[in-house]
């Protein structure tokens, strides 16, 4: 009776506790998705979509897995990055994607750091409880999300950071310069009309070693999401099929992270099968 009252009356106004699912919804035979909620800035309710390595029924696989906090691009719903989260989860990486007000990460850019806190101290009994390896974490993002990821990296709470079709804010240059032991990967799209390749290359030069710049030949800006329609509407069509772009992005991200977590390094040979690579 009490639970029913809570659900019907209270939940409509004040809720019955932050969402912390004990089981996920399968998205493939080896990955599942669950929606968490956390409190940021004392009052803000932040939904976080978590995609994790799972059994076919949505239960998390045994073991502790590395995690990537991924920040959405400006105005791009989190759902448009589900393809990437699923691909990484199938490769053994848990991906947590926090939402931001009106999908603009710049107005609450530390939601990513609050998400890391959720991963480091997950709710008891949830799909994350006992399944997160806190020693292997990373932050990344696409476009504006990449700018935000580069702002979060200097906190030193993440073991690596990734910038997709983006570049760091020049104002963060001095903060980033001190991250000499935090490896980074920049993935650029050769035919990007939003984050121009020259700008991405300049941004890469601001990053400390070890760092890699991987340019996916023929790819465009919105191929980092689930649709290249925005590129086509803006007269910027890709020269690479979307599936091929997704494979390259997922493989580059996975191989970089695995190496970064293993020994803190970056290896051009591991990445060059999918992109034109520059390493420093």
């Amino acid at each position: 009776m009490r639970s029913a009252l809570c659900l019907v009356v209270v939940h409509g106004f004040l809720g019955c506790g932050l969402a912390a699912p004990a089981q996920g919804t399968p998205v493939s035979p080896s990955a599942a998705r669950a929606r968490f909620e956390l409190r940021a800035h004392a009052t803000d309710l932040v939904p976080v979509e978590v995609t994790f390595p799972a059994e076919a029924d949505g239960r998390p696989k045994a073991g502790r897995f590395p995690t990537l906090v991924y920040v959405q691009g400006g105005g791009v719903p989190v759902a448009q990055y589900r393809w990437l989260a699923q691909a990484l989860a199938e490769r053994g990486i848990t991906v947590a994607m926090p939402e931001h007000p009106n999908a603009l990460a710049f107005f609450a850019w530390d939601n990513g750091e609050a998400t890391l806190s959720l991963l480091e101290r997950p709710p008891a009994g949830s799909v994350l409880d006992g399944h997160v390896d806190p020693r292997r974490t990373a932050v990344g993002g696409h476009s504006l999300g990449g700018v935000v990821a580069a702002k979060l990296a200097p906190s030193r709470r993440f073991g690596a950071f990734i910038v997709h079709a983006s570049f760091s804010d020049p104002a963060d240059a001095s903060a980033l310069a001190g991250l000499v032991d935090v490896p980074s990967l920049t993935i650029a799209a050769e035919k990007d009309c939003q984050a121009l390749l020259a700008d991405v290359e300049r941004g890469f030069e601001r990053l400390p070693k070890p760092a890699a710049l991987a340019t996916v030949v023929g790819a465009t800006h919105f191929q980092f999401t689930d649709s290249q329609l925005q590129d086509e509407r803006r007269g910027c069509p890709p020269a690479l099929p979307l599936d091929a772009a997704h494979t390259a992005i997922a493989e580059l991200t996975t191989r970089f992270l695995q190496r970064a977590w293993a020994d803190g390094g970056v290896d051009a040979a591991e990445l060059s099968a999918f992109a034109r690579v520059q390493v420093k």
Partner: protein, 200 residues
Amino acid sequence: MRAPALAVLLFGGAALAEAPWFAVQGRPETLRLGVQLGTRSLTAGLLVPDAPKARGSLTAELAWGFLDRTVELRGARVWQLTPIQGGTALAFVGGSATLVPEGRLDVGLGPQVGVALSAGVRAFTVDLSALVGAELFPGALTLRLTPRLGFGLSTALGPVQVSLAIRGGLDFALQAAPVGRGEAAVSVSWLREPARPKAN
């Protein structure tokens, strides 16, 4: 500069630690009961003048933040500083209490002060406001400063006033990134005009 400011107003998170919205809609001499629907909250409030045609009043509002699932109680003392030609200048001092019931139970308390200018005629009024508040959340160990700017348009038809308003700003907290805040809202108020003096 305009584009980022507009973006904060339209796209920021909930405008919390707020002074009452009804305090800045002019007419502190008029009893008001109102409801307001915003992009992130639903509010009910009232404004009670000290006496008919008084230049001071008290206002209180109860707001339900339906996206964040929080409840906020706001109150303020409002003074009409001086009537200006075609408008009114106001000042207010008040406070708010925010209940955060989920996760770590927390209550934020803090003061707000502000000024407002309403200009126009009864059929069409422009409201401008500037306010700043502070709010302490002991559970989250957060103290934040909450400056805001507001802009509104109002029209009154008989005893009913309809207003469109936007309010935005930034939250500043120690060792934390600024957080953009903004909300747009429409309100409907019932006004009871002060009694006119009887002719001799």
